[in-house]
Point group: C2
Chain length 479, copies 2
């Protein structure tokens, strides 16, 4: 082959991303004049509301939008985005503000679209094991609604997040190992695109080979390609029997190796979570529990009565091989709720290890075979830096978190923390993993996208460019 | 809101798709001159080879490419695509030619990239339950290779398709109800884009929230966005116990309602397949079996010995409610193989119902609650038209096929068939389903894309435009 064709000579390579500027007072006034007839007092510039919408649960510096609106329908969202497009103003979707990588911070100002009033459960189709909801519905709201059906929605991040936010950040939780993340649990979406077009992605059939997978393109796009205004999600049948347990280990390696062995031998665990000794100390304090302050697995089996017994027996045998002890079983619903609420509150619990300080949560995910070494290296790194950083996570997925409790006013500590995070991500990527398993990119993991994705990063930017040429959709996030 | 912003005024609406023309003799000669130094006799214009690469297993009219090449590596594919881009020549990826909607037919001529020599199993990582393979590896080749590991690759379309082709058409098969389609079983891909760039999508971590989901964008894209040159797929542990059965029903409704009830009550079926009376007749003849010629379910349970027994008992009770009889259990490996081979050969078997005729396979997929009415209406339609059209399918997913045996020389029959297919698709879409559950779009289902996807169809075209501005990647398929 002659080398007269330079590599990629024909590439329409992605130009620098366009981003809107923070709007001038006149532009903002024009936007408000356009939208007030539609929204009335559901669009506002009240300082308290702006401030409230300028931060999430992350450590990232807040930045308030210039206005906040509260649409009631897909049609209203479409008209809002068309107006923002006309005035070249940034659009930031907002659910309940529980993101942890700054996904809703308005770095470029603009209009925050608060979807919390679009919180109707549109339809539950028990016969198809699916439900259609508006994006402001929270996961506990949906499960509360489902009580009488014998069904549940499985994805459970720590916070009581909104369904739209969970889809947008490709969220997961404690039972992903069995039921999957949002990626596996969303069947279809209604999305308002950057030009106001309303697009229905996917359908209610359980599978389809008809065209590009726009549903999965929108899941995890963090509002940078459009705003999700309706979701159809899979539901699962409540199992006949559930059995939860905690089991303590002398060291983290024993706990992790138990998890790896149980995954590799195909035990159908519904949940398997690790908390290290420091995380257990925090959880005990916060949730008034009396577990031993040792590395501990929280786990759960779902199935028939006989099946759960079989699984529990097999797991207990594995534990013995790796030094597990102090098995505490919880089969009563109330005890199980207490156990898992404590797990879900672990990040908040960690914060009380250093009262008055802030928490900074990060997560990575690696192939299961690399999990033990990755956790071991990370714990050595924590010791070496002296950070207060309980480790916990969804280890059945190869995913773990550190909740670093830090002093924002201490510049040395901030620098130590930033360098620690870079080493953590580098370790994940070197192990064939990812810089974030479930928290998303937002503004916190942007800098790692190029090294994780290589030329794939340019492909993502080309897609963004094609679908949002003005760059108004949640600018500065992800791409 | 003022209505001074016309809807979508700022849309960069997709211009008509560019497509390359069939190359002139001079252009083709220039391409060959460029690539022969790289590929030697692995690029050819031999008429027999061109003809062989101009058709798949579908009824669609063949069209041969102008040349065929047989690359050995991702790098070679990259150089091939760069040359095609330089000369503006169409690129058609080819696995083993088992597609059934004309996905590999070279309507615009061009260069067929036959990936069958890229058939190495790169690595099996039993500890992570994954494997990396080249695209020319077939599903049975992979499972043969895995024999000693206790693991298997689950996706099993009827044909012994290539892994690259299966990913490109978002294929599935008989055990999707338990293990998912290619969509759920591909972890990451290496893709050569339209400009020759080599992109790695996704990674080996079981989940990630890092950026747009390029893996799912490429799965089901039918080679229109790039060529898949490597895949990392999930493996599953072989279950401790497997039990297969067939059970006959007096009518299709009884069989379908049994499936619906078993899905709705959460029975963890590994496979549940329906063959109508005509399909059973064909299978009996072709595979020399002696089943009753009645609507029959083929099913399989995977689990522990106790679990499988529990499932079988629950299922048998359900069957009684819907008139199931003639339960035939197969627990011996050999009997199970015979049973499932017969199911996989059903399309070929159907062809013998009218010797000398051709088969024309179509598939739709609907929400499970709409399956019974959809099948009933379709069977009435078959009767009314007088077509020879056995019905079979993966009914646990709401997916079914018709294998119409037809006379290509009979224009009336062709018109009847085309009209029947349109009514079938219309019925699927009206039920909230899709025009194809697993066969893909190719050239056969293109006409239904706009009605299935609405404005989403334009979004797909915008993505195609952004990633393949010349339109050289498998032109005329899907978008």
């Amino acid at each position: 082959m002659t080398e007269t064709h330079p590599p990629f000579s024909t590439t329409a390579s992605a130009p620098p991303m366009r981003q809107p500027r923070r709007p001038s007072a006149a532009t903002l006034a024009a936007l408000l004049a356009d939208l007030t007839p539609l929204l009335g007092d559901r669009i506002t510039t009240a300082p308290g509301i702006l401030e409230q919408h300028g931060h999430d649960e992350s450590w990232h510096h807040p930045a308030a939008p210039d206005a906040v609106c509260f649409p009631h329908s897909t049609q209203e969202v479409s008209r809002v985005i068309r107006a923002c497009s006309h005035h070249n103003i940034a659009v930031i979707p907002y659910g309940v503000g529980t993101s942890i990588e700054g996904q809703i911070i308005a770095e470029r100002g603009g209009l925050c679209v608060d979807l919390s009033r679009m919180n109707a459960i549109v339809e539950v189709r028990a016969e198809d094991l699916d439900a259609t909801v508006q994006p402001g519905v929270t996961r506990t709201q949906l499960n509360h609604h489902l009580r009488a059906t014998g069904l549940f929605f499985s994805v459970d991040p720590g916070a009581d997040a909104s369904m739209g936010g969970m889809a947008s950040t490709r969220a997961s939780g404690t039972n992903t190992v069995r039921y999957g993340t949002m990626r596996e649990n969303v069947l279809s979406l209604t999305v308002v695109m950057a030009d106001g077009r309303i697009v229905q992605t996917g359908g209610r059939a359980r599978k389809s080979a008809a065209g590009y997978d726009l549903t999965h393109l929108m899941i995890g796009a963090e509002g940078t390609l459009g705003i999700i205004t309706e979701l159809t999600v899979k539901l699962h049948g409540l199992p006949e029997a559930i059995s939860s347990a905690t089991v303590a280990f002398d060291d983290v390696a024993g706990a992790v190796n138990t998890v790896i062995a149980s995954i590799q031998c195909g035990l159908p665990l519904a949940r398997i979570e690790l908390l290290d000794a420091l995380a257990m100390k925090a959880v005990n304090q916060y949730s008034r529990l009396t577990h031993g302050e040792k590395p501990t697995l929280f786990l759960e089996f779902h199935g028939t009565h006989a099946g759960v017994r079989e699984q529990a027996k097999a797991f207990a045998e594995l534990c013995q091989d790796f030094g597990g002890s102090d098995f505490a079983w919880a089969t009563l619903e109330e005890d199980r709720q207490t156990l898992w609420q404590a797990r879900h509150d672990a990040a908040y619990a960690a914060k009380q290890l250093r009262p008055g300080m802030e928490f900074w949560a990060t997560d990575i995910c690696v192939p299961i075979s690399r999990l033990a070494e990755c956790i071991a290296a990370t714990q050595l790194d924590v010791q070496a830096t002296g950070l207060t950083a309980p480790l916990l996570g969804h280890v059945g997925d190869g995913n773990f978190h550190l909740v670093v409790i830090f002093d924002r006013d201490n510049q040395d500590e901030l620098e130590t923390l930033a360098a620690f995070n870079q080493r953590l991500v580098a370790r994940a990527l070197a192990a064939g993993g990812t810089c974030t398993g479930e928290h998303g990119v937002g503004i916190g993991k942007r800098e790692y996208m190029a090294s994780e994705h290589g030329d794939g990063w340019e492909v993502m930017r080309s897609i963004k460019q094609a679908l949002d040429p003005q760059g108004i959709m949640n600018p500065g996030k992800l791409v």
